[in-house]
């Protein structure tokens, strides 16, 4: 190829920019700042391409040694050019300059330097590098251990680490979505585009995902010619055809970051990362969950660096990236270039550089015998070809100024240059094929790992399968797309466009022996070849050990430019082959994913849904303080002016219920309608107690056991008709109890005729409790219904109407120990009924009460609740042993007779009051015999529930105590080391109010 006659024109305001190359929008110029200096660029640039256009190569300082770093690549594999983008609440650290799209007004800063990028104090770490070798965490600061947290770790964290995240809340919104497709094509390069075209012929659903803003992949990067025209024109025509098909979706700026089971893929779409501020309501990023019947992996390949001395200097760049900057962005990254390669990719690199007007100083080809293609380009370009030579060291500090070269004969040559374009071969981007366990296979001809076993439904196309040349990529794409939609053997074929065959010959070279200076393997985590050697010497030879000991491959780039080189070096020094040495498998995510994107809508108060009870609005109007109970938001207490704290309020609420009447929303209890000819038989088997004798129009307390004999849930069972029951469960177990009953009906006893339907939310249900509850209800219940004690005694239930004909249900049940009712109306009337009750209650001095007073009153009555129904207790433990039927079979009966379950030494429920009545009790305190040492061996049980009892004027408690019922009157110690409590308590019967239980009957 002849040298271009005239050097291409450059932009006077961007010294490295060619005015007529690339796919950036040259007609528009936008401005951005980097470390406070304003530069110009074009829409379509990345931050990296724009910096390079302005001659800026120094981008940051490295993680550990604070070495100056430049721009190594042009894609998401970038380990070096990590910047802090934007400012204020949108400031984000560690953003790859090579993938961040430029927008007008973008503010970018370098990281990990102080006071400036040019002069960084911490670069002294580089001189201490003997100390900061692999494993230094473990070795250097072993002793004394106490100093680790206080001194060493904070100091290391300050010195190392990269950017700073914003402290402010993220002002942007994120969203998540699901897509189902017949074919997912991952990668929009030549292979992916062909696959999409072929698959789209079938009319099936196709989703094409590409990481970049513009499709085309390496065809654009390489400035390829396809079907006789520039790649970008071919890409445009393919895009137009795909866009015309209704079932093809193209997702640009989207990275598939993970493969999951069942053909599910995770993808992140950067919807608005390329603008300063998203428009109102528009998401910054969108997380896609894509469920695909087939997937075509067309992710291409990532170029490998070569490990040589000071190979991290700004100005050492991957050859493919050099071509990308020239062909995609119209930017020449350097003017005097040494091309260093072990393969024929150098040929097209040299061609592009010369066409872009750069001076190629030399081709340094490590292969002793030049390939035909290399010889041809060297002679046509008039460039010096050094075969069998290697670059041993890059010269210069903040920018490459030259290359030290060892020729085939061993002579040392020093060449001046400002750019060293390196190609060590290509690694197929196989990560997504390994996420669910696929093992890669080493290919000795191509010198790379290829996907081995593939996840179900995955096909390969293009470079990821080792098809490095363009014609092969195009052909394999067409095949994969057709196969992905084929029915059995029938598959469509589409014409494959023509392109020139490139030579991809390669000979191994991983690192240059006998180099001087530091030679980096993993740039982002500052791991050098000597760290790999050190790991080997210290026995960390397995790849998984090498990785963890050196931190190799553990940075945000997942070691995409590092892993294979490290492995090859380890293979070399241990005298093994690469397949013998092994390969670490990649895990998702392939690129970093913001937590905000994973959360989507579900953050802050939307983290999980909130369930509001029917009287919620009214309760808030009353000033209720609410508490989360599961997903429910329930009124906890209703403070009134002049009450100094919650306890003051709760005392008033309890006293009002015990002396007048109170109203409480109990709609959150699970409610289940059980019907069918065998409903009674079914409930007999589900509940531990006898229900056969339950008459129509009556309710009874019931308990359910788990199969293992442990108490599961409790509630009431009401019988409305011969074959119709209405049961309640605890709020917490509403869903589980329904599932349990469904399981019993569908799986254990399918022969029973029983239907179970949830009715939890159909009814707004309020407890009306207190001596004046009946008088209050008389004003609500329609007059034709008799609610006198004779007509509606304790445990009566009935269907009634209220407030002039609204259908309702009335239950005479009591949790408080007072005369009490629960009244239910269809939920849409819930708010109105509460307001009616409130108005009607005025003359009786009624109060509203919440979960706090509810809890106090049930403790005063010794009723069990969540703390006692804690998944470890038996009916006997909680004092309900007598309820358990001995005459029928039921779930949990058999296993409930095991020795451990019936052990008389199991602590049993009993009440407690402090010996010194002024002392507060704490739940969680453990019981010890008076004078016993506080050891686990002496533990006799624990306090489960405590409350200040307004009825008694002191604290009371419920708890489990060994032989508790036999020890009434005894004094024991309540020991609470967590909160420093140590109190003497008296064992009392677990009923603190109305021990005869007379009040509930009126």
């Amino acid at each position: 190829m002849a040298r271009t006659k005239e050097a291409p024109r450059r932009d006077p305001l961007q010294p490295q920019r060619l005015v007529d190359r690339g796919i950036v929008d040259h007609r528009r110029t936008i401005e951005f700042t980097f470390d406070g200096v304003t530069y110009k660029g074009h829409p379509g640039d990345t931050v990296a391409s724009a910096l390079l256009a302005n001659g800026v190569m120094l981008a940051g300082r490295s993680f550990k040694y604070h070495r100056p770093r430049g721009i190594l690549s042009a894609g998401s594999e970038e380990p070096s050019a990590l910047l802090e983008l934007r400012d204020g609440a949108r400031r984000e650290p560690n953003t790859k300059a090579t993938t961040a799209e430029l927008f007008d007004g973008l503010v970018a800063k370098s990281q990990n330097r102080w006071p400036s990028l040019d002069f960084d104090v911490m670069s002294i770490n580089s001189l201490l590098s003997k100390v900061f070798v692999a494993g230094f965490y473990y070795k250097t600061f072993m002793w004394p251990a106490a100093l680790w947290e206080k001194l060493y770790e904070p100091a290391i964290r300050r010195a190392a680490g990269l950017g700073r995240a914003s402290d402010a809340a993220d002002p942007d919104v994120y969203e998540k979505t699901t897509a189902h497709t017949d074919v997912l094509i991952i990668g929009g390069g030549p292979a992916g585009l062909m696959a999409a075209l072929a698959a789209a012929q079938s009319g099936k659903r196709v989703i094409l995902v590409d990481e970049q803003a513009a499709l085309g992949g390496r065809a654009i990067d390489d400035g390829s010619i396809i079907d006789g025209r520039p790649a970008r024109e071919w890409v445009r025509s393919v895009e137009a055809e795909l866009a015309s098909r209704p079932d093809v979706t193209i997702l640009r700026r989207t990275t598939v970051f993970g493969t999951y089971d069942g053909g599910t893929y995770g993808a992140l779409e950067r919807v608005n990362d390329h603008v300063a501020v998203p428009q109102k309501h528009q998401p910054r990023q969108r997380l896609w969950r894509i469920v695909a019947k087939r997937a075509v992996l067309a992710t291409g390949a990532t170029e490998r660096p070569i490990v040589f001395g000071d190979n991290d200097r700004p100005g050492v760049m991957l050859a493919g990236a050099v071509r990308t900057y020239i062909n995609r962005f119209g930017v020449v990254p350097g003017d005097r270039v040494v091309v260093f390669a072990n393969n024929d990719y150098a040929v097209s690199t040299v061609t592009d550089l010369i066409n872009a007007g750069a001076n190629v100083v030399a081709i340094v080809d490590s292969r002793p015998k030049p390939s035909e293609a290399i010889s041809r380009i060297a002679s046509s370009a008039g460039t010096k070809l050094l075969s069998g030579a290697v670059v041993t060291r890059a010269l210069g500090k903040k920018r490459v100024t030259g290359a030290l070269i060892r020729t085939q004969s061993g002579a040392e040559v020093r060449l001046f240059c400002d750019l060293i374009a390196v190609s060590g071969g290509w690694n197929p981007n196989i990560q997504l094929s390994t996420h669910v366990g696929g093992k890669p296979l080493w290919n000795d001809d191509l010198l790379c790992f290829l996907p081995g076993s593939l996840p179900p439904g995955m096909l390969l196309a293009g470079a990821v399968a080792g098809n490095f040349s363009l014609p092969k990529a195009l052909g394999s794409g067409a095949d994969a797309g057709a196969t992905a939609v084929a029915n059995g053997t029938k598959s469509v074929s589409i014409p494959v466009p023509k392109a020139a065959e490139d030579s991809v010959r390669i000979a191994p070279l991983w690192r240059v022996e006998d180099h001087s200076g530091k030679a980096f393997v993993d740039f982002q985590n500052d791991v050098t070849d000597t760290d790999v050697e050190l790991a080997e010497r210290e026995g960390f030879r397995a790849v998984e050990h090498l990785k963890r000991y050196t931190t190799l491959g553990m940075a945000t780039d997942q070691g995409r430019t590092a892993n294979v080189n490290a492995l090859a070096i380890m293979a070399d020094i241990t005298g093994r082959t690469i397949p013998q040495t092994g390969m670490t498998l990649a895990r998702p995510p392939y690129v970093p994913v913001a937590v905000g994107a994973l959360a989507g809508h579900h953050r802050g108060k939307s983290f999980k849904p909130t369930r509001l009870p029917p009287s919620y609005k009214w309760a808030k109007e009353q000033g209720a303080v609410c508490v989360e109970t599961g997903l429910w938001l329930r009124p906890s207490y209703f403070p009134r002016p002049g009450e100094k704290d919650w306890l003051d309020t709760v005392k008033r609420e309890v006293n009002t219920v015990r002396n007048a009447v109170g109203i409480c929303d109990v709609s959150t209890l699970g409610k289940v309608d059980v019907q069918g000819k065998d409903a009674a038989a079914f409930l007999e088997r589900v509940y531990m107690n006898n229900l056969k004798s339950l008459a129509i129009g009556k309710a009874r307390y019931g308990g359910m056991l788990r199969e293992d004999g442990i108490l599961f849930d409790d509630g009431t069972v009401a019988r409305f008709a011969e074959n119709q029951y209405f049961i309640t469960t605890t709020t917490a177990n509403a869903v589980r109890a329904l599932q349990h009953m469904e399981y019993c009906a569908q799986w254990l006893w399918p022969e029973l005729d029983v239907q179970i339907i949830s009715a939890t939310e159909q009814w707004a249900q309020y407890a009306v409790a207190g001596p004046k509850s009946r008088e209050l209800l008389r004003k609500i219940v329609d007059p034709e219904f008799d609610i006198s004690d004779a007509g509606f005694p304790y445990l009566q239930v009935g269907e009634i109407t209220v407030c002039g004909g609204v259908k309702a249900r009335l239950f005479r049940l009591s949790f408080s120990g007072e005369r009490a009712y629960e009244i239910g109306v269809p939920a849409r009337y819930g708010d109105a009924l509460m307001r009616q009750l409130w108005e009607a209650g005025r003359e009786f001095g009624a109060c509203a009460y919440g979960t706090e007073a509810l809890g106090v009153m049930r403790i005063e009555k010794g009723h069990i609740s969540g703390p006692e129904l804690n998944g470890t207790t038996t009916p006997r433990d909680v004092g309900l042993g007598g309820m358990v039927s001995k005459t029928k079979d039921f779930v949990g009966r058999t296993l409930g007779t095991r020795p451990g379950i019936v052990d008389p030494e199991r602590p049993q429920l009993i009440g407690f009051r402090p010996v010194d009545r002024s002392v507060r009790l704490r739940s969680g305190a453990h019981f010890l015999a008076k004078g016993a040492n506080p050891t686990a061996a002496n533990d006799e049980g624990y306090m489960t529930s405590v409350a200040y009892s307004p009825s008694n004027g002191h604290w009371i408690g419920l708890g489990f105590l060994k032989h508790g019922p036999e020890r009434v009157g005894e004094i024991v110690r309540a020991y609470d080391p967590v909160r420093g409590g140590d109190t003497l308590v008296e064992v009392v019967k677990p009923v603190f109010v109305d021990p005869e239980g007379a009040r509930v009957r009126g």
Binding site: K280, K608, P609, Q755, I757, W763, C803, A832, Q836
Partner: protein, 193 residues
Amino acid sequence: MANMLKPTSAFSHLDPLSTPSLSVAPREDLTMASFAAGKDQVQAVMATIKSAYGVDLPRRPARVSGKGIAFVWAGPDQWLAVAERGANRDMERELKSLLSAMASVVDQSDGRVVVRVSGPLSRQVLAKGIPIDLHPRAFGANAAAITHASHIGVIMWQLEDASTFELAMFRSYADSFAHWLIETAEATLPATA
């Protein structure tokens, strides 16, 4: 005595949305009842419904509609009947009188609330909270599913119209669901400058 109780909406802040590409509106005018066939009564239930309403109850997730009524599959041998309440229609009462000995009937008019989402963007909006395949070839006219939307359990169905969906959920979730739906709708509608 006249009814002194006025019904209230479960939605405290769902302003109906109506744009050419998307509409969202609560349907608070429905009467609904769940019914489950008794043992060995499925054929009898189906025959009774067929003779009363002229429709075949679906045996798989789907919806059928007859004159002024629709039935949505809600589980094996179980359906949700949905109709407009009108003056005083009560689905529970209606079905109980029809199916007395064959099925258990439970009122759901208040237990569940229904939201209608319609318009060309409806699928795109719903896909942002619902994991199942909503493509017209997978979920078309009269399709039904029991799934979840934004972590909230729903029974959903499509009407005959290709882009009109109704979602039924437990009443207490109404506000959380509406919050998600409106936020998602705003993010999906074309940006306003």
